[in-house]
């Protein structure tokens, strides 16, 4: 009996999943909130936005990622009214959740477009001086500019699917979105809050977030738009990418766990433990192997390690 059921589930689930993924992806791509966020992200990336290129990741992470979280939660919760009918369909809740998780590739594609548009827009301007990239290597720059924003735009919608499945009160998605922003802001910008960034707790908290800042600068507005000092913050971008990917996997597992039964539930639980172990390992490595102290790179070409003073105001 069980063999027959497994054979049915593996052979039947795939043909069902593919059309479901297409349907959910189309629903995601047509959602007005997603389209509004995507348009705003493109608008904010088309020009020479922001003084420090490495901070641009905030734009897709907020407009595509956070808006995507709300969209994913709404799409997931939209079937609640007709739950009785949907549950009668020969497709399990896990398959439907998996389709929603796969549809989160839509914001990933959108984020990719945004970061590429930003790079193209930058290419039209004069090349940036090297100091605005801080002490990061070329590989780390590409990670920060191209990969980390895209991962953020995958993780937030996946969390939205989990929120839509587990939290059933109105405003849940918005509450989680605000909490996520607050967490990212407080932990990511710890050095701006007067905390010594080179201490172990500060370095750990700086990485223990789904979105973190990599640079801080003394840029102002108007004539002082371009900074004279750029502070590279602590941590390893490569291991931070692994940590955020593991968080994405954990969010997907949390979503899939709702309504999962039998072997599927066991498999999802095993995957959750695996993702948790990867998350813990990569977080530790991001703190231990990354930059341990902040570095100040100035327009005069000097690099000061372990800078503990507040960023100087522009002359």
């Amino acid at each position: 009996m069980s063999t027959a059921r497994i054979a049915l589930s593996t052979s039947a689930a795939r043909p069902v999943l593919t059309p479901l993924v297409w349907i959910e992806a189309k629903r995601f791509a047509r959602h007005p909130l997603f389209l509004a966020g995507f348009a705003l992200a493109l608008l904010a990336s088309g020009g020479e936005y922001g003084p420090v290129e490495l901070d641009h990741g905030f734009v897709p992470a907020f407009f595509v990622g956070i808006f995507g979280l709300v969209v994913a939660a709404r799409l997931t919760a939209s079937t609640r009214r007709c739950e009785a009918v949907v549950d009668a369909a020969p497709v399990s809740e896990t398959t439907r959740t998996a389709a929603l998780c796969a549809a989160c590739l839509v914001p990933v594609a959108a984020a990719l477009v945004v970061v590429v548009v930003y790079q193209l827009a930058l290419a039209l301007h004069d090349p940036r001086p090297a100091y605005v990239y801080g002490v990061f290597t070329t590989g780390e720059r590409y990670l920060i500019l191209l990969i980390l924003p895209v991962i953020a735009c995958l993780g937030a919608p996946l969390l939205g699917v989990a929120v839509g499945r587990w939290l059933r009160f109105p405003g849940a998605a918005l509450l989680v979105a605000v909490a996520l922003i607050l967490w990212g802001m407080l932990a990511g910008y710890l050095p701006s809050q007067g905390m010594d960034a080179s201490t172990w707790p500060a370095r750990t908290l700086h990485m223990l977030t789904p979105y973190t800042a990599w640079v801080d600068s003394n840029s102002g507005s108007g004539a002082t738009w371009v900074p004279t000092v750029v502070r590279s913050l602590t941590g390893s971008p490569a291991w931070f990418a692994a940590w955020t990917l593991a968080l994405c996997a954990l969010a997907a597992c949390a979503a899939l766990l709702h309504g999962a039964e039998g072997r599927v539930r066991q498999a999802v639980l095993r995957a959750s433990w695996g993702a948790g172990a990867v998350a813990l390992t990569s977080l530790t490595l991001a703190v231990v192997t990354g930059y341990s102290v902040p570095h100040d790179s100035s327009s005069e070409g000097t690099v000061v390690a372990d800078s503990r003073t507040p960023l100087p105001p522009q002359p």
Partner: protein, 209 residues
Amino acid sequence: MSVVVGRSVLRAAPWPVLLGGCAAAAVLFGIAAAARHGGMFLPLSLLGLGACGATAAYVLDEDSAEVEDATPTGRRARVGWRLPIALLPFGVGSGAVLLLDDVGGATGWNRLAPVVAGSVAAGIGLASGLRRTGRFAPGDLAGALTFGLVVIVVAIEPLHALVSLAPLDSPAYPLSTAVAWALVLVGCAAVFMACERDPGRPPIRREIS
């Protein structure tokens, strides 16, 4: 409409979301006040302002509107009972801004009071616009849109070449800013009046005899 019906309209309001939203906004402003010496003061206050606007977007949520529209309780009358609830997020936002002005030192945080009014108005305007499209509980969508719009408008200042919408640095409060926020309020009020008319009532036409 009688007070009895008004009470039932008020009772049907999504109080957990409204109170939870106000509490979340208050917490954000509280953290902003606690971190007033760091660089997170303004961004956290912005999140608080956005939360006030998003909370206001839930005021008009009426899951049973389809049924209630068929009863002799006008939509405008029902909304009239609901609208004063928007004073709750407005009160939290403006009170917090005035408090931040006291603790924030030299910066004129009380200049953000029009932003609070604008975000609450935007939340209600967006919600009523979405209600007209058949979504009777548009709070989630309108709230997210309002939150995003408020944060963008104040943090990025997309119209800074024309007008500064959150003039914290300028020595005096610019007239153009006051005009801009007044326009937002009037625009949202117009959208609200247009969208919240009774759906069953045909437009009044004068017949030529």
